[in-house]
């Protein structure tokens, strides 16, 4: 079904090495325009490395990555990034943070103000525009970071465990809000997480990754209908399926066999 859709990101035979260490081994992946894709796996599975390669922060040692048909050559505003550690500029107010991308493009005056107002409102922070990041809670900071990335009108939003540092309640709220934003903005979302529940709740497709070396194990199409319910049977079934997959790939027998083989 998805093959007819427009390709947003094409990852072809991509490998990333850090010295002798292979962080990502020979990965192929298609990401379609407008889909919400989750990269799921334990630490060391290369999910963040893959995201950083798509963002243009790390250069693949082999293979290629194309975005909208164009080879990735460093970071670019078409690919917005949201970081786990928020990465807000603490010396700028919330408003200045959100305005940063548009301002670099030469937007100014009332237009600039309109953009920051719009995205402040989108993430529910209209009252906090003049505050500094240090004055905000973790959840609020990540909202600002999402607004900052979106205000620059990217085609793709790359998110590296954006809710990993938040408490469970805030995490759920932000997941709900993120889905609303995604439905509103209709961008391609690539979302890195190590939480099966998060991937099942958010994703159209879940890329299950495994470590030693980091690679794609399986790509699962999430059939659960939207709007989703965290406590539905459908949700649990999907959760079980992925959980079983991880149990198999990380069971002692499998690990032993792999070690014996290498």
């Amino acid at each position: 079904m998805s093959d007819a859709r427009k390709l947003s990101i094409e990852v072809r035979g991509t490998q990333v090495r850090y010295g002798d260490h292979v962080a990502l081994a020979n990965v192929d992946l298609d990401v379609y325009a407008g889909e919400l894709l989750c990269l799921l796996g334990p630490s060391g599975c290369g999910k963040t490395t893959l995201l950083n390669a798509i963002a243009g922060f790390v250069e693949p040692s082999a293979g290629s990555i194309r975005v909208n048909g164009k080879e990735v050559d460093g970071p670019a505003p078409e690919r917005g990034v949201v970081f786990q550690e928020y990465a807000l500029f603490p010396w700028f107010t919330v408003e200045r943070n959100i305005q940063y991308g548009p301002r670099l493009r030469g937007v100014h005056g009332a237009e600039l103000k309109a953009i920051s107002d719009q995205y402040c409102a989108l993430v529910g922070l209209a009252g906090a525009a003049q505050r500094y990041p240090n004055q905000l809670s973790g959840g609020m900071r990540q909202r600002v970071a999402i607004a900052r990335a979106l205000a620059n009108r990217p085609q793709i939003l790359l998110m590296d465990e954006p809710f990993g540092a938040l408490d469970a309640m805030t995490r759920q709220t932000l997941q709900d809000e993120l889905l609303k934003i995604w439905e509103l903005e209709r961008l391609t979302f690539v979302f890195v997480t190590h939480s099966i529940a998060e991937a099942v709740f958010l994703a159209d497709r879940i890329v299950v990754m495994t470590p030693h070396p980091g690679r794609i194990n399986e790509i699962i199409i999430n059939t659960a209908a939207r709007p989703r319910n965290r406590t539905s049977e459908e949700h649990f079934a999907m959760y079980r399926r992925i959980d079983t997959l991880f149990q198999q790939t990380t069971s002692p027998a499998v690990t032993e066999a792999r070690e014996a083989a290498s």
Binding site: G56, A76, P77, F83, A87, F89, L104
Partner: protein, 269 residues
Amino acid sequence: MTRLRRRRQSVESFGQASLPRGRRTLLALVAVVGVLLVWSLLSGLGLVNTVLLPSPMDVLRAAVGAIRDGSLLRNAAASLWRVLEGFAIALAIAVPLGVLMGLSSTLRGLVEPLIELLRPVPPIAFIPLAILWFGIGELSKVMIIAYGAFFPIFVNTMAGFRDVDRVHIRAAQSLGARRYHIFRDVVLPSAFPQMVTGARLGMGLAFIVLVAAELVASSEGLGYLINDARFSFRTDQIFVGIITIGLLGLALNKALIEAEHRLLRWKFL
């Protein structure tokens, strides 16, 4: 028993002792009055030789005298001016050098060993050399103060520019920032707080070096005032000089902290 328990409590609150403002002022007042009281008793009861330790009242009288005849103001101004000159020179050299070395790891590798070698040498050790090189006059003193203030400013500037958070640079890049924008909007503002800290430490050192330099050779300044009073056995004047140095240093430090808070409002919220 109760004393033991009290001590334990104070150990538990170690490091997080943030007193309310009013209480802090009160305690400061108690401390100052307490010291003055003990001092008065010591000299008043004849427990010490008042030639060596004059009473607070004697010191106050000497201070009034020194203010009246203008010598205190003249010497304080001379010292302050030297500090500012030396500090300005240090700033002008240390900041650009620190920026360059913070940004270039090659340059850092080249210069850092030399810095590590020079850093443990107290600036005061260079006073004789400074006198030989720059003469007994104003220049040698200003230069030695500049040298003293140089290291804290330089080292902190370098560290500030070296330790810019990579994630901030990446965030800026993915928002479309070019090298120039990254320097202006990320590197500079994130290095700035540590530069300011360096400047504050540098000012403190400049002050220490100043007095030492003035003690060795000078015809005016607070160090001179102290040393000159020694020859005439005017310990009261020595105390006036010492207290003036303390107050001046305190005022400068307060002013710099205030400037720091204003310049870096985002950091102290």
